[in-house]
Chain length 193, copies 2
DNA sequence: TGAGTTTCTTGATCTATATCAATACAATTT
DNA sequence: AAATTGTATTGATATAGATCAAGAAACTCA
């Protein structure tokens, strides 16, 4: 259950088994069925979640009811509405499971306690977030500069795994294009590469 | 010189004056003239920089020589190519000054030393980066969902200050639209609000 | 199993924004 | 002050991708 989290931590910082054991004690586990919510827009994001199994998506919903995907989270990734989690204010993102999933949850209070008890975990999260910034900025550049086809190709190269596990119209939303456009791109591309 | 940095720190964590004094010792100062580079694409990003005066932009350059703005940094903001800074590999962003500017610089080695000497600075950067993620994700959502006019209006609301200090075609690039489109939007909008 | 839902495809049409081009204006530099 | 360079405007035209619409697969779950 905790191996993936421990790996994520030991990849970034030096930490003893005893301390890892202590880290573990601040988390609770949760299973989500496909389509179940972890967080609904307007609620307060009580936990940040580490995915040990499954796929989740976080997204906004516009006036027309269309979803705009912020992030996919699979095994080994964190997911939350950072803004709501930090401030305690209403979340603007919805998070739900796209497959039956298993999570490690930590509340805001438990997080504070953990960081106080094991200060080196600050470093873990600092590095985690720094890597995250790099990834999101990269995605932002792509969204500003690339054509629909280039975006899809890059998605294929970077996250082949996600493409296989997630419906096509959800990929389209993640890339900021319509499902119709993605369908046409795939048709054109068939056979390429 | 260091007041703005100290403010940024004390806004986020509890820290003594003695420790702040120690923080200060890890930085060097630098002045940049308008149009001078802090970092050129392909070089290694040796420093992260805290802006105490002026405006900088970080951007990529495409095959056609067009700039795509990643970020503006004014007084009180950090700027760097995080990826290059962390890995020591070649930077994909260029950073230069749009006004005569003053910076506080810290090298990778000095940063490591500082975080070792004053571990609570990990918390400062963790919070800084967490806030950064919120901001970039927010920008990403806007770039995926909003029209050119909505983007420009939001930019006006969120960063009126930047709009006044930065040429219009650079704002356009930041928003992912052409200068011509921005010019037309401004014409239409004249008188609105 | 089969009725309902969800997802994908394809075609016809529309539109926001890009591109190309020319001019005018403003700000630096010599 | 002239020359150079950078910036903004405006018009004409092109186009990538959106939207609308309808049918075909592909799943799910009673």
């Amino acid at each position: 259950m905790f191996e993936l989290l421990f790996k994520s931590i030991t990849d970034k910082i030096e930490i003893s088994l005893i301390e890892l054991d202590s880290v573990q004690s601040f988390f609770t586990t949760k299973k989500l069925r496909r389509k179940q919510y972890l967080l609904q827009e307007g609620d307060v994001c009580k936990y940040i979640a580490f995915v040990t199994k499954g796929v989740l998506k976080s997204y906004t919903i516009d006036e027309k009811g269309a979803e705009h995907i912020i992030q996919f989270a699979t095994e080994g990734w964190w997911v939350s509405d950072n803004y709501s989690f930090l401030t305690g204010l209403a979340a603007s993102y919805t998070i739900d499971a796209m497959e039956d999933s298993e999570l490690l949850l930590i509340t805001h209070a438990a997080m504070e306690e953990m960081l106080f008890a094991i200060p080196k975990m600050e470093k873990y999260f600092r590095i985690l977030f720094q890597n995250n910034i790099i990834a999101i900025q990269n995605r932002l550049v792509c969204s500003l500069t690339q054509t629909a086809e280039e975006k899809y190709k890059k998605m294929n190269d970077d996250y082949p795994n996600i493409i296989q596990r997630v419906p096509q119209h959800t990929i389209a939303s993640f890339l900021g294009i319509t499902p119709e456009t993605l369908s046409r791109i795939r048709k054109q591309r068939a056979g390429k590469d």
